[in-house]
Symmetry: C2
Subunit: 443 residues, 2 copies
């Protein structure tokens, strides 16, 4: 197929979206000092030739380099313009945005995007479409902001047999959990603070229920294992059930609570992709990833353990990742030559979550009366869930029992919880957390 | 210039060296299961067509996939063979190895190397030679083993204005310092343990005196700032002066002692590249990089703070990095097209170490008598070095004074130390460490 090449060093960019990220990127490309530094580093000049926005009324910037005449509300016309080499999409949305990607790629323009939700759903089909039209599709900024994890999986680790990827890929939930840990505040207060600081949206569902992390887990899994995984196939739990007491108790046991996106290969061709609040041992590199930072921990047969850490969100860090993709696309246009042929995805079987094993943390509020512990532990035993430690914390008329189990199947643990709920002496089944055992994945 | 392309998917590899790394790489390429997995992931097959070794007598492997008939002692003949696409150099050495690189590149073969000392000295000239002959030169494994920091600087951050790179890039010294920290053992005992475990050589000079880290600092600086820096231009101090007491005291003050390779831009076109034992605040991501692990922390205008962490040495992790380069070289052969034109290096002025500012930690053993502190602090004052904190630790007839200063110039601190040595009441000037202040580079 024809591959569009450029024989001069100016790359013409159509920008879709001019929010935080779009404006930061425009500044990196157009502000004179930045523009000069970029040319010095890369030999390239990027010219923004159009900016699609939803409204022309909103004031975007007073800066000299900001050219308001580039703004347009007609994104569909912009992406097929002949003087566009690359379309950069930082406007979000799925159904209304997908046709813009398709139009751009079909007209031979490469696309750079930060849209995790769209890529998690349509990434493979779009990559194929890009290949068929000699275009590139890059989306480093879609996972973990400025952290170049997608490139590392695609390039540096292309020959590596990756066995597991575990990421803190949602800054909002990590900020909330870090605040609960450091300040001992309740989930609701930490969420309110995150909202006040602009780290969480007014409707925080996508973040706190793990939907955002699930999209990123799907993208990570498909790149790490070269297979098809969509966000809908990711087992997902959020952090709304995690209490300040859980976080404090975890700390006391030597763990930090993190919302992890996990993708792992089990016995060759079986795969598990899930998002779960997890207790990470304090000595594990992921445990000290604090606040709004992101990190992705990768395990491979030859490379051993790798971790990439950095800013997962924000206008400038996200724009930095988009810029890296833009430079890559531009270099590829300069080189010419044939594009890398995408391989057929490997066929991997998703192992049901019930068949995934882990150690667990579980709290139970029970009546403070003799014989309760025996009744409760009997239920664990009936399902083959072996208890590693138990602590009792007084709560007036009640007692709270805090269990940590040995490794057991999720299915066995679910069955245990179901039966525990039926026990009269159990007033409330509290939080369930997965526990990464010391040394696991960090040997 | 002509660029060698390959129209089939088999890449023929000449291997120079068959020690830990060479053998691990050969196994990744030739062992049947690995070979199949690699083909599945990349669509590529690598065929080792010759292995240069210093002696044919040494037994290397009993494995089925090991083909002893490939061994040769004639490296010079191997690198110019017409059936070689890529030369992989993992034998080390500089003067005897450089001509092999030159021969290989001149004959159009690409070169992949793990040789930090050679690359730190001749990297730029070799890159130019490679370009002139349409070949690639890659050396990810030369810095921080499996950690893909060179690619990230070269590709992901190509458009980024990187301001500072700080790395723990020598596993031997990090192992020693970690052991001193965790077990409270003396430097000599920690070194002996590192030697016993094979982490340190019998002659540990290259590691403990910072020569190895200086080579890596030079490579990092030239990639991060696109300028010429050789290992000889790197200011270098090792860890032999660091005592168990220093490490314990640092810990008490909230720091970990690390040997850092630092490359930073100062005011636009000035540059500093140095290797120094440094106190890193406990909350800084570099502080928890333990044992033989490596990590590189990058700060950039747009990306903010990034860190890459992983195994910095060992046969398999190093071979993993070499394999990543091999796949990249192979993909580039497949694509064909023009190679990336290397830009002329930026002209940057190295600022003399005396003009670099830092906070400092310094210990002094002094006579335990009245008036000593006044005499000592007067010397600091004369050179404009302001003291942030001082603690006195009794030592029998002597006292040890532990100072932490505010930010001062290295030159002023050297002059202070020179004059302190002349004071009669000062029995010994102890360790000098740089101190990264809380929040610095981690805001």
């Amino acid at each position: 197929m024809a591959r569009r090449t450029s024989d001069n060093s100016t790359i013409r960019v159509a920008l879709l979206g001019c929010g935080n990220v779009g404006l930061a990127l425009y500044e990196l490309l157009a502000e004179p000092q930045n523009k000069q530094a970029l040319f010095q580093r890369t030999g390239l000049t990027f010219e923004v030739v159009g900016i699609a926005v939803s409204s022309l009324k909103r004031k975007r910037s007073d800066a000299d380099w900001f050219d308001a005449s580039l703004l347009t509300t007609n994104a569909a016309a912009l992406v097929v313009r002949e003087d566009v080499d690359v379309v950069v999409e930082v406007m979000g949305g799925i159904d209304e945005t997908l046709p813009l990607f398709e139009k751009a790629l079909k007209s031979g323009s490469s696309v750079v995007s930060a849209n995790k939700a769209l890529l998690a759903r349509h990434g493979r089909a779009l990559a194929r479409l890009a290949f068929n039209h000699g275009a590139d599709l890059r989306y480093e900024a879609a996972v973990a902001g400025a952290v170049p994890i997608l490139r590392v999986l695609r390039d540096a680790l292309s020959g590596e047999q990756v066995t597991r990827v575990m990421g803190i890929v949602n800054g909002t939930t990590n900020f909330i959990l870090s605040l609960m840990d450091h300040e001992g505040v309740a989930y609701g207060d930490a969420l309110a603070e995150a909202q006040r600081l602009g780290y969480a949206e007014k409707d925080p569902t996508a973040d706190v229920e793990g939907y955002d992390a699930a999209s990123k887990a799907a993208i990570l899994a498909s790149l790490a294992f070269d297979c098809k995984v969509s966000a809908a196939e990711v087992s997902r739990e959020g952090i709304t059930q995690v209490s300040a007491e859980d976080v404090a108790f975890a700390r006391q046991l030597g763990y930090a609570v993190k919302l992890l996106a996990i993708a792992e290969v089990l016995e060759g061709t079986e795969l598990s992709v899930r998002v779960q609040p997890t207790m990470v041992p304090a000595a594990h590199p992921l445990a000290s990833v604090d606040g709004a930072f992101n990190a992705v921990f990768v395990e491979g047969e030859a490379c051993g353990e790798l971790m990439l850490y950095g800013r997962g969100a924000g206008g400038k860090p996200t724009a930095s990742a988009v810029l890296g993709d833009l430079v890559e696309v531009a270099r590829s246009m300069h080189r010419g030559g044939a594009p890398d042929v995408p391989l057929s995805p490997r066929t991997m079987v998703k192992r049901p979550i019930a068949q995934i094993s882990s150690a667990f943390y579980l709290t139970l509020d029970v009546a403070d009366q003799p014989g309760v512990l025996a009744k409760v532990t009997e239920v664990f035993g009936q399902h083959g869930v072996s208890i590693r430690s138990m602590e009792q914390v007084g709560l007036g008329d009640e007692a709270r029992l805090v269990f940590v189990t040995h490794r057991a199947l999720e299915g066995a643990m679910s069955a245990t919880i179901k039966q525990l709920r039926r026990l009269k002496v159990v007033d409330r089944v509290g939080t369930l957390l997965r526990v990464i055992e010391n040394g696991e994945g960090n040997s």
